[in-house]
Assembly symmetry: C2
Homo-oligomer: 340 residues x 2
């Protein structure tokens, strides 16, 4: 089905004067595939809730209108914008780095937690606990300049393959969420990542993958130190935690980096609960959404018992507060861009 | 002198297709006041250096062209965008707060450093050193929610008067720098504040005063803690330093908050030296500018010996590296907006 010139102008005008694009022509628009802003979302209450919210805050005559400057939307990354199984992809990056660096560290062959990584013994790695993880982060994420680390991440993201799909990790982003990011930006939103993942692990690739610039990434970080190295200013990454952007840390990170409260927040696990609470508590209409992983065939199915991306308290709170819960299996026509 | 319609179109077209607006018509444009982007700057090498740089990085056919996304400009605040004498304005805010809170703290009458503040004994206050200052910051900047602190700052900035000029502190912003901020933004730059001052002390008013949104402010901070207070999520400001965005901290803060290197940086003191070095060391054309306070009549004159805003090492480095140094007395037609 094609748009007549008149239909095209009507829609175009509606958009350009800031009127809600769907008012009065919802049926016609939904029938015209090229104009559906969320083509990978099945029709139903979830999609309607998103479109309804965006329409309400962008229509100038709406009691819920929000000025463009205040249209801040924050997105968790792992499990919300891309997959997080069988482990956070950044941990898989660290494991690959340990293996790449092993020839320079013969002592790792008999030293935990490195031995566990080199022998692919994830049980022993898990047994090394937080202390072990900290050692791995220090060995793989610190001791180089910020510029050097950026190059390492870029190289890995361009070449490493996910074990299940045998594709680059950035192929495992959610097509419906890419459409949602674009839809929000088309409607004047500033889209931010607010992730427990490392800020410098995300920045090198989020612009090309999500359309989100480096300055709109909030994440966990290690400390850095400015120094002149042979007269050249560098920032050295230190083996010392600076900030953990998870759970109670997410509202702290939002306030620190953005300085204003989001009007919409998107997450998938208990690590996002406080960000959603913080967002919901603002004045005026707010929108909170949780991605519930329910599709073991196309992606993964997990929630209350999962060691990675546990969704338990936040699911209860979503049900209590009426937040939107995406059922991936039911709501998403397509999961990954390559599955179309 | 008025523009003819033809001249107007020529200038307009030059701008709209991204050509350097001044190429080939510099003389004519300088004679036409309404089109001068920097009317409060006297003609001369300083003004030419600014306009030359902007023209070089924005002209599509220029070897120094920089994509819009990479046009990041960072500005120190105290002494660069507004005055900083007789003391950083945030310290004057803290002093006002101590006085306002004194009735609830009778013990302060005989307890340093509070007694010094209440008796206007700035010598005794200075003698209390960093420990004393920390106590004053803790008493005036912590112990409330972020929302409460924002309201306190807004109230103070709207009502407090500068001792010398008997005007609101936000009247003491530099008209030439306001024009420079606007000129850069018109040319696709994203303008950031990178200040040693408190991030939450600046955010409530920088949008209306400088046109800089809260998310483009990098500054020093104290820690905050997320908690539910009677079910309401709040962020409590804690009496504990989180980050000092000064000297070596400025490149660290830039990398942490922005995640890419500025192509232009503006400062006025040794506290800005590392930011300028970090900016200069990037690839491609860069622009560094130092505001030198040389006008005791209209503002203040100080540099190498000043306890506040000392400009010593950074001035030597500017001369060595050929960075642009503003001589306020010589280069600025007007200092404050109210002096016109």
């Amino acid at each position: 089905m094609k748009l007549t010139r008149q239909q095209f102008l009507k829609v175009g005008l509606g958009l350009s004067v800031g009127l809600p694009p769907f008012v009065g022509q919802a049926t016609r628009l939904h029938a015209i595939t090229p104009l559906d802003p969320l083509p990978s979302w099945n029709s139903g209450p979830t999609k309607s809730a998103i479109i309804g919210f965006v329409t309400q805050v962008t229509a100038r005559n709406s009691p819920d209108f929000v000025a463009v400057a205040d249209r801040i939307a924050t997105f968790d990354n792992d499990g919300t914008l891309w997959s997080e199984q069988p482990a956070y992809f950044q941990l898989l990056f660290a494991i690959d780095r340990v293996k790449a660096l092993a020839p320079q560290h013969p002592e790792w062959q008999t030293q935990q937690p490195f031995q566990a990584v080199l022998e692919n013994d994830l049980k022993a790695l898990a047994a090394s606990g937080e202390a072990g993880l900290t050692q791995i982060v220090a060995a793989t994420h610190a001791g180089m300049t910020t510029t050097e680390f950026e190059a390492i991440v870029k190289q890995w993201i361009a070449t490493a393959k996910h074990p299940r799909f045998q594709r680059p990790y950035t192929d495992l982003v959610f097509q419906p969420m890419l459409e949602l990011l674009a839809y929000l930006r088309q409607n004047g939103f500033k889209t931010y990542i607010v992730s427990g993942g490392g800020i410098e692990f995300m920045r090198p690739w989020v612009q090309s993958v999500y359309g989100i610039p480096p300055e709109q990434v909030v994440g966990s970080s290690i400390k850095t130190r400015f120094e002149l190295r042979n007269g050249e200013p560098v920032l050295i990454r230190l083996p010392e935690i600076d900030f953990i952007d998870d759970k109670e840390g997410k509202p702290v990170g939002i306030q620190k980096f953005i300085g204003r409260r989001p009007i919409a927040a998107f997450g998938n696990s208990d690590g996002d609960l406080q960000m959603l609470q913080w967002t919901a508590a603002g004045k005026g209409l707010r929108f909170n959404l949780i991605v519930h992983h329910t599709d073991a065939q196309r992606e993964w199915a997990y929630d209350r018992q999962s060691p990675v991306g546990r969704l338990d308290k936040a699911l209860d709170e979503a049900l209590r507060q009426g937040w939107t819960v995406v059922d991936m299996k039911r709501d998403w026509k397509q999961i990954y861009p390559f599955q179309s």
